[in-house]
Subunit: 186 residues, 2 copies
Amino acid sequence: MIMENDLPQSSSNAGISPESGPEALDQIEMSFGVLSRSLLEKNPILDLWRISFLANFYNEPFYKTMEENEGISRSEFLVLFCLNSRQGITAREICLATGRPRNSVSRAVARLRKMKLITYSVSEDDRRRKILQETDQGRALLDRVVPVAVARMKVMMSPLSPKENKELNRLLTKLIRNVPTWAFPE
Amino acid sequence: MIMENDLPQSSSNAGISPESGPEALDQIEMSFGVLSRSLLEKNPILDLWRISFLANFYNEPFYKTMEENEGISRSEFLVLFCLNSRQGITAREICLATGRPRNSVSRAVARLRKMKLITYSVSEDDRRRKILQETDQGRALLDRVVPVAVARMKVMMSPLSPKENKELNRLLTKLIRNVPTWAFPE
DNA sequence: GCTATATAGTCCCAAATGGGAGTATTTGTA
DNA sequence: TACAAATACTCCCATTTGGGACTATATAGC
């Protein structure tokens, strides 16, 4: 086991400049402007802003290109992705897990069904429920799209060493465990 | 300076259960269902999913209640928030920093102006540009809304010790610096 | 200086969105 | 059994959204 010093930059983008200090976000200023830089350096909801920044600039372009290439909307992708992840689930589960309104999920399900990317069968236990299932075509679409997303994520995560990645996930787990205490106001 | 052991849970939510291991996300399953739990534990774009989960379940309810309480949309809030963060900026800067389409920002600016929450003046240097500025009313609105957001974020971040919070930000900085290399496909 | 190209911002309109009512079914209560 | 309340899902429709054309201004190339 190699003991590595995590403080200097890891494998990729080595030696461009120190990772912290005032010049750390020079590249951001180039691409996203001065305002973006100052928001990422200092604002009253800094931690949240930074997390949202990452999520936002990953997700939006990804969904946009997926729409163009596969004609599949964000909600439609999410439905397929969820089905791929767990068997025997219903629209309600997808709403809960993704935060999308039941409305949009229902519509996504209807369209995916029309496109023969999924099927559903009324649950025997509870005939209100429809158990969703991806078709071979649906799986095939994910097999085209998910690798693109994975590759994109790998690039996103590439500045972190394996050890740092693990540490990030440890911290995220702490935050995620806590979400139920604050997610739903009132 | 107190040397604390960061591995056991920090100040709040102490002793509920270990923060990792199979039972770590029991609470998630309660609130968000089994699907959500399995997605947060394992999926091909796990890191991204977890980051998006946090951003999503912070942002959506926040914007929704702000809409209800203040009659201000997401884009409108973002415009105000940006103006509060930096002087002399234009709509374009806000688009770059937030990823919102210029369209929506333009509309948000128009509406905020009608509501007397911001003003603008054509730039002398470049008469295409409109320099935006918040009014006292606009600032007052932020003074009502931002503390709510800050409080919510503090709860969100409360599971982390100061040291862990700092470490998280170190890791996020590494990721953020790298965004320009992948954010815009093609 | 003149023309072509780029940029900031706005407008139009077709399409997407989500709130909330509606339907079908199940569960709880007596 | 009867009936009230809850739940899963769908439908209707007013509102929002964002792509892309358009206007005004600025910049670059010659």
